[in-house]
Symmetry: D2
Subunit: 430 residues, 4 copies
């Protein structure tokens, strides 16, 4: 039996209050779209089929090297994190899967954990390994790297940990492992830039060899942090070449905050798809570096352009199109549940807007070198306020028309603040 | 009685080994400089007068939000940190002052601390306040800002802390307080960009009012981190306007890693000097953000160009020239003592190279719009290997010709690893 | 008698076709806004009062140092440019003023030019001086700078040119002069960074002294290009300090493409307003450098955030609020008229969205440190599709509901292609 | 018979003046290196074997889209450009080859041109095609792209032009063709990001098919300019994937100014070598974008780190190591001959410094995770003033000890100013 954390009555009551306004907005948008030859119900159905995973660690408050400011009622273990993720899915109906991280989410019984999640209406997405931190009792330090470390025993330990994550993932129903390593250097000369990649590839191929047939290994590149001079898989070029060497089950994962300033990320998405290696996304937003801000909070247009490429890729699948979507944010100044509710909605909005683009008009303008009309075709879709479509899809799926309002009225966090143990202050690392 | 941590015999023995080579190199460089009309001994004397402070916190291993990897023998309190700083000064003879940070370096008796430092051959530089972290028992959280916080009681608490730091600094013999706040936002709209600066200025003016007559208040700007959308004092423009409002004792401090990509930092130095507000530096290097790498490890030429501006400023002091110099680095992958020995030498090298620039030739070429010769004049100085000048100055001041060699031979760190208590693993913040 | 270039019948016919749909959309949006306590007609009236100037040079096709690809029917003199600008204003009703550039727009009779513009429904905005190019017969080259040049005669020539521009502007009815200089260096050492600013300030003060009482001098900063190592007025910090030295009639102009990567431009706007020096804008968009792309084409959310600051500034005028708005784009791949029609609409959309922000809710959330609700308040306004408001305002002012459609149907450009002389291929500069 | 442009007597006279100082410096450096186990004469011999090509177009003054400021005596055709390149080679002895650009350097008789060059002591390097500008009488415009254009006839024209360049190159003795296209977009939606790459690859493969067996096709990526939203070959990832599709004779060319801000270029060099696709370099320097400044003028340390990777690659050739080296700069504010003399020397200095690195010590420190010593090993080589080695190598090869001094004393440019026809003012593109 599914036991959802928020009162169904509360949701229903608030939806009843909002229904008339929603129907008015939805009707008006429907007429507007119909004039452009678009069936709003078909778009709503498409949106209803869209989903994005949430990260278990995203349920806790994040921080920087300077400090972390916890909030009362934060989750401190995977069980509490699942409960929080269930709130997000119950209200928003776009986030049915949770992506776990090991060893942070280690438990003794993964079958039970899977059942616990199912009872909350949740499944599991990609598993994430952690070789960027040392754990108590660990034999070899990752201070000098993990899969790319100079020391063979350290590399073997990192390989073993990844294989263990795959094994856990099989029990949880995952089909992907996401591999991000912080390996790199802070000084010119610290490591040989060629040989460190050789070591990475050799170790990664051992992880790859342990993949079940229907699994994928998602390589996540990142320009910098924690390494500040060089990073072994620093950009999409390194990532795709590594994925090519590893084999067909290796794909590239794009985190929107892991790129150099000014880079055209939507073109990287198009390139990865063009060469058969687009594996998925870690959605977030950033202004400076890997800021891990809420998706679309800084540059919502860029997020739309990414989904525009995905819509094109779906129409033109070349070697297949099956990207994994996940939120990966650090909620330093908000209630993580609120941020993920808002972010999932923003992501789905961009998906919906991309679905509104008149592809025939776009392609026609492109073929005619009619730059202005090609641009206007995209911009018209971007400017459309698709909120009514998403709200109607949520309503029909049992979610809340106004997700933040319902969450606040539920007083979920203050109840948890009484039930859960307090999180210690994060004194920072400096 | 001064009690220095490294054996004087060890230093003398190694210096004896290196002396002949040094004299050969120094002699050759002296002849080369003499052909260009430069007296090497005069440059050596200038270099011998140069110094830069080290930060107490720099003596410990740093980290990122992902992890911190401690090393055996790290200092865990201000007494051990002073001892480590004494090693740096004893060997390198360029770092006679330590910059303390509160509450990290809090003790019950500051008079005793000052005497303890003096016995190690050290004095104190600028005091640093900390309003970017919450401390146990603190009445008001800095989660939403400190000097610029919306909440008046929080601002008052931050003001009081800064005034307490000034009071401590008076006891320690400091003359400057460096004020860096992390105040800012992660979301558009989170705070009003105008009113938050109003609050900052109002609170900062209360700190300013508590300054002794012969003190300065050094405002340190930073583009981002810990705030990732906006920061209240984000750039030199905000910093200098704030300093103008506060009054003549308020000056601007330049941290080399706190700027937007591609920015011309040496021009910012020139601008701050031009408008009478150049207060000092936090030296480090960076490739991406506030990476806090070793000074000059990434872009030594930029560091030279900064010192070239300082040499010009000294010749043309306008409203005075008295910048404070300090190292501010995060030693994530090295022994902090080694990094500060190496960094202090790099900084002094840039100072020495700037001193070698033929200013008459430079100014003549500038006046003649002879771009190539102006550039060559700078480049000739930059290309000069000034190591012999620094080594000879160190030797004459009682330091080591080869500082890293002497440090390693002393086995200081392994001795401390046996004496000192272990530092806990930094699990990261994420 | 006003003689507008596009047939009024054509506009009326097309408006009749679109009217019913517009009324439906406008009505639905009106109901939606009314539910949030906003009167759509009041917003429409506000939007109807908004305007932005267009640059005379923007009417021609732009290019890069590599090439320029002209289009048939491009204007080749100020008379043809005015005619094109009249098309933009006739259809869009947001761009009633043209900003001229000298010597490019030099004529023998400025009184006649002003009357010619008035007959086309146009007035004149800020005049722009040009000291970044040499003109035939010019006594002194700007190869080594203009207002900041080493050579006194060159500086005097640049001052005289600016004063001549003011004199022309008086005849044309302008009230502002925009001063942008490319002065800077390509090599470290090429010029002294302090003394070149001294020269700039001394020369600029001579221009300032020639300003009529009711004029302003708008200083435009730019990070780089044409100078690639340093630029004399490279950032808002240099700009505001220069404006402070010059006097109260000197203000700072913000071109959206003239900043370092990642910089928070809306905060710069807030800072300039806070310190009484916000003079105006050159609107465009960019992804990499001074790309001069169409306004809002790359980052429309940033443009909205700029207008959000302007809305706050208007409510909180401190030392006054009177910014000058202008488009400044390089139309390398589109018909310039289409780009300016589209850009003016985008800019007005951002103005309208900023007007929709519930300021009480925003300020309340800010005061309560309710980050999520503060953000949502902005985001709700940004997500609103304000196109019906703008279209209704245009319709009522005599413009076209669908400006691009009306322009294309008018076949204006192909008619001009037959009338006007061809523009030569731009072979590039390389 | 070789006819060199500068008087051999002048060179000999000046060398005689400088010889004694050079011998002193060379001797001292030799003793210093000997103490580190390095034979200075062996390094000198290595440096004597190093060379870098100069671009024919680099002999003329460059400019920006705003203006070009010509100098008296600039070359206006390939014959004059060859003469200028002969000056550079005669004095510097590091630049024996010229890289021509078509159609800029078109002549009727290439056999004669090759002989003309040989008589000046010069050969030809890679040929460069130009499909970023329209030429008089050209059938199809490149306004909407060339190899990636939507229009098939335009693509065919671009393919034909490249094949013609290969044919010319065969006559000139070239072995490489460098293909850089400006193809891209200024607006989201302007072109399909996937299909434009398909078209590029299809057209590029036709050029590839026309390559002689012993030729290479060097693909040059560039982030932006002339296209400001997307570029078809924008980064090394796109470049290497394209080179993989084309075949083994396709390699990647790295221009140091064509990358995103903050990117680690030396790691890109290491990656291209690791995957067998490092084709060569366009050397220059930049602070902001594709500034095309003099090599090493902004960040000489980065240039050294690139050569450090090349030294590693030579030791560990994997699939071969044969990069092509060329200067590619825009000399906007200097005499191009002086800039190329200075740049070639800077490049050779970095090569020499990389040759000084104690590879055994470096690799040993890397294997021991001794970060500080690995860094110091590089830094020691970088800090060495290698000028005496280069000067001695030049002297022995018949060049000038002080190349700029000899050039200025020769009065070459003022003689050419009298002989050559004047270049027109560049009015800019804006």
């Amino acid at each position: 039996m599914t036991q959802l954390p928020i009162s169904a009555d509360l949701i229903a009551d608030r939806n009843a209050v909002h229904l008339e306004a929603l129907e008015d907005d939805y009707g008006a948008l429907g007429r507007k779209l119909a004039r452009a030859g678009i069936d709003i119900d078909a778009v709503k159905a498409k949106v209803a089929g869209f989903s994005v995973a949430v990260p278990s660690w995203g349920a806790g408050r994040g921080g920087t090297r300077f400090a972390k400011f916890p909030i009362p009622g934060e989750p401190t273990n995977i069980h509490e994190k699942l409960e929080d993720c269930a709130v997000i899915q119950q209200l928003g109906r776009t986030t049915p899967r949770v992506s776990p991280h090991f060893p942070w989410d280690k438990v003794s019984d993964y079958k039970a954990l899977r059942e616990e999640a199912a009872a909350l209406g949740l499944g599991f997405d990609a598993v994430n390994s952690n070789t960027f931190q040392d754990q108590p009792g660990q034999a070899h330090t990752y201070a000098n790297g993990s899969l790319a470390a100079q020391d063979a025993a350290t590399r073997a330990q990192a390989v073993d940990h990844n294989i263990e994550c795959i094994e856990i993932g099989r029990q949880l129903g995952s089909k992907d492992i996401t591999v991000w390593v912080g390996d790199g250097t802070n000084f010119p000369g610290q490591q040989d830039l060629g040989r460190s990649l050789d070591r990475y590839l050799e170790a990664a191929s051992q992880v790859y060899a342990a993949l079940p047939d229907d699994w994928r290994m998602l390589l996540e590149h990142k320009m910098f942090e924690p390494a500040f001079y060089s990073t072994v898989i620093s950009d999409w070029g390194s990532s795709i070449l590594a994925a090519q060497e590893l084999g067909p089950k290796a794909k590239c994962l794009v985190d929107l905050g892991h790129h150099a300033p000014n880079v055209n990320i939507e073109q990287i998405v198009a390139r990865l798809h063009r060469f058969g290696k687009l594996g998925g996304f870690h959605f977030n937003d950033s202004k400076y570096g890997d800021d891990d801000l809420d998706s679309g909070s800084i540059n919502p247009h860029q997020l739309f352009l990414v989904f525009n490429e995905l819509a094109e890729a779906e129409l033109n699948p070349r070697e297949g199109f099956n990207p994994s979507y996940m939120i990966d944010q650090s909620h330093n100044v908000t209630d993580p549940i609120e941020s993920m509710l808002s972010s999932a909605e923003t992501i789905a909005q961009c998906y919906a807007k991309a679905a509104l683009v008149d592809r025939d008009a776009l392609h026609g303008a492109q073929e005619a070198n009619d730059t202005m009309m090609a641009f206007q075709t995209l911009r018209r879709a971007y400017n459309t306020d698709v909120a009514p479509i998403l709200a109607m899809a949520r309503l029909e799926a049992g979610g809340a028309i106004d997700v933040l309002e319902a969450y606040r009225l539920s007083q979920y966090r203050s109840r948890k603040a009484q039930e859960r143990k307090a999180v210690g202050r994060g004194a920072g690392i400096v």
